[in-house]
Symmetry: C2
Subunit: 267 residues, 2 copies
Amino acid sequence: MVSGRLCIAGLGPGALQQVTPEVAQALQDATDVVGYLPYVARARALARQGGREQAVAWHASDNRVELERARQALALAAQGRRVVVVSSGDPGVFAMASAVFEAIESAHGSEAALWQALDVQVLPGITAMLAAAARAGAPLGHDFCCINLSDNLKPWPVIARRVQLAAEADFAMAFYNPRSQSRPEGFVRLLQLLRGCCEPGRLLVFARAVSTPDEHLRVCTLADALPEMADMRTVVLVGNSMTRTVGRWVYTPRHYGMDGACAGSVP
Amino acid sequence: MVSGRLCIAGLGPGALQQVTPEVAQALQDATDVVGYLPYVARARALARQGGREQAVAWHASDNRVELERARQALALAAQGRRVVVVSSGDPGVFAMASAVFEAIESAHGSEAALWQALDVQVLPGITAMLAAAARAGAPLGHDFCCINLSDNLKPWPVIARRVQLAAEADFAMAFYNPRSQSRPEGFVRLLQLLRGCCEPGRLLVFARAVSTPDEHLRVCTLADALPEMADMRTVVLVGNSMTRTVGRWVYTPRHYGMDGACAGSVP
């Protein structure tokens, strides 16, 4: 009988004040914490506050080894450990949850049965785009989509086509990983693409490291947007055709296409 | 000089364990809490635990009066009160944040200047689709979109076109308010629409009242989906063409369109 447990937990965008009590409790109960180095460091800071740093085995790994990390966590849980896999933001949004299920799916033999029988829980967190939107006002206050620009997960034509269809649907858009190390040109191409399908006055929000001491927010129009405004810690939000400013806030109205108020491309 | 403060706070999907410490603190500091009846009741339960129920003025209102509620909250804050507007989930996702900025934008005269000068903060919360996705596994683990089926916010043709474009882009999709009172037929039409643009084996998750005692989760294929599976408290998630099950979990792989592994309509 397997007594181990695997939680895949979202730490939110950075601030401890945005970690849910559920996630804090899972960390409190953990024997092992597994994750990408900076996220393990955040979980460790939390444990230090609770005086539990020494009681936990910390397994920090580098970026780009998500599947190995997931396998390590599953193997530990199968040994009866109480394991927490930490993700930034929400574990289900371009983070570790899918990697863990991929690892379970690709397991073989007795391992497959063992891993499928584990008590696995996904604990949601505040995802970066919603933390960023909250800081800016309510730019995602109407229908929106969420696209990962990260390298090596999908070919560029898939991204390009999705952006064009999203613009045609007049979705607000959130872009994760706009400038990843191995695809720095991706965001340059994205801006070109957006200029081909959105008006120059379309509002963009560049939200860097929201809720951390490095937080920086910048609002500008598509015409004024520069590739350098985004880096690896930035989430980029693009309004829909109705998105506007009121004072220092950016927001998207709740209504759309009523009484001829629609300026978008949806008929 | 205005000393009032307005927080627009997300209570998450229902469980107290998913309310962030930041939101709990804002409620702790509030003189007034404004919101839709059931959400005010949840905030009140939180205050009762903290022994602060008597210290707060509770302003509960019915559904469909978002703009009046926003104006009431702004007026209270302009009088110097510390006001929290409570939303379920995240305030920026089909909730009160946009309504507050709409109210600020539509204010006139001295009120306009007063309201724009207020200290307004949006505090993010766990939005329903991410709580639902976490319970199901990781169905939103790749690019996705989020559509509100609620009545009286946009005409049906806008929704229909967005769904078709989203299917063409092979986004996973999250639908809020699938069966609202004044548009019960919306979800029937949505299922018809999806059957026209997705394969019969496409996976759907019906997630009702996640994290509450009434929680109910059902996974089925598009072929087997029935309108009755959704009600006003349900969020419906639709996978992309790659979404699959592993054991009792539903997940969407992180990779897409590599090595001919793509079954979707994006070339």
